[in-house]
């Protein structure tokens, strides 16, 4: 268990970020999770910019790919997006030709989401970037530690 104290000098009125006492924040899981999420999102935009994917659209594509016919309401629920905000993204993805909406035959209110061939191709290209991206983000950790982090996150979440 490492606990490097960043700050060694005495407190003074003139602080610079290289000599700040940040130990309290480092022991604050919520703050560290926010920093980690920022790191992953920034890294994502760097890695997937060429494909035009964002963290949100990537997750949407993955869920539709693994669950063809999933309705917008379920998608919004698992991705923790509000339905009206998801609808806006789905509208863009559909008008760009990546997904299509089918009306359910059994319940004509319901919508079934599917990837188009163009959408399937995009997510296949994205999948090839996923491993090197995660590897880069988690580089300081051993493979066992990377699995441990993922396992701990899964266990604190109600998924």
């Amino acid at each position: 268990m490492s606990s490097k104290a960043l700050r060694l000098g005495a407190k003074s009125a003139q602080q610079s970020e290289t000599s700040l006492d940040l130990r309290a924040l480092q022991r604050t899981p919520g703050f560290m999770l926010r920093l980690a999420q920022l790191k992953f999102f920034e890294g994502f935009y760097e890695e997937f910019a060429a494909l035009g994917l964002t963290p949100a659209t990537y997750a949407i594509f993955v869920v539709i790919h693994d669950n063809p016919g999933v309705p917008p309401s379920s998608l919004a629920s698992v991705l923790r997006l509000r339905l009206p905000n998801l609808i806006k993204i789905l509208n863009e993805l559909e008008s760009s030709g990546f997904i299509k909406r089918n009306r359910s035959k059994s319940d004509r209110r319901a919508v079934e989401l599917m990837l188009t061939p163009k959408g399937a191709k995009l997510i296949a290209e994205g999948a090839r970037l996923t491993q090197p991206y995660n590897e880069r983000m988690l580089a300081p950790l051993s493979e066992a530690e990377q699995r441990m982090l993922l396992d701990l996150l899964n266990r604190i979440l109600p998924l």
Copy 2:
């Protein structure tokens, strides 16, 4: 290492969120970090609502408390906030009487941030809520696992 597959039935056009295949997302650290951060922030607002603290103001108070005289630029840097956005929050905290700004004597452009007695009292009250809050958020993990999670997060971050 648990890896409960959530989905057991066959894929069909009619999906509900209870039977979706989310295994790909569960193996995606960036997505799980986003969910974890959402959980912690929502829990924070529940726990600290009575004090009027937000995750951002809590972190600001902590850093000023541990580093009296810290300038806004350093604070923005460590909290990953843009300076103009931090300034707006500092304006509110100052006009509410929680912090005060001193002009540095050696460099009259520089500002030194301090807690007022009212601000010190607020963060002291907040500190008492911190442990039960983190305990509730991390309840599914043993104490050793909670330390492990925090350690892993610290090691992937450049703090």
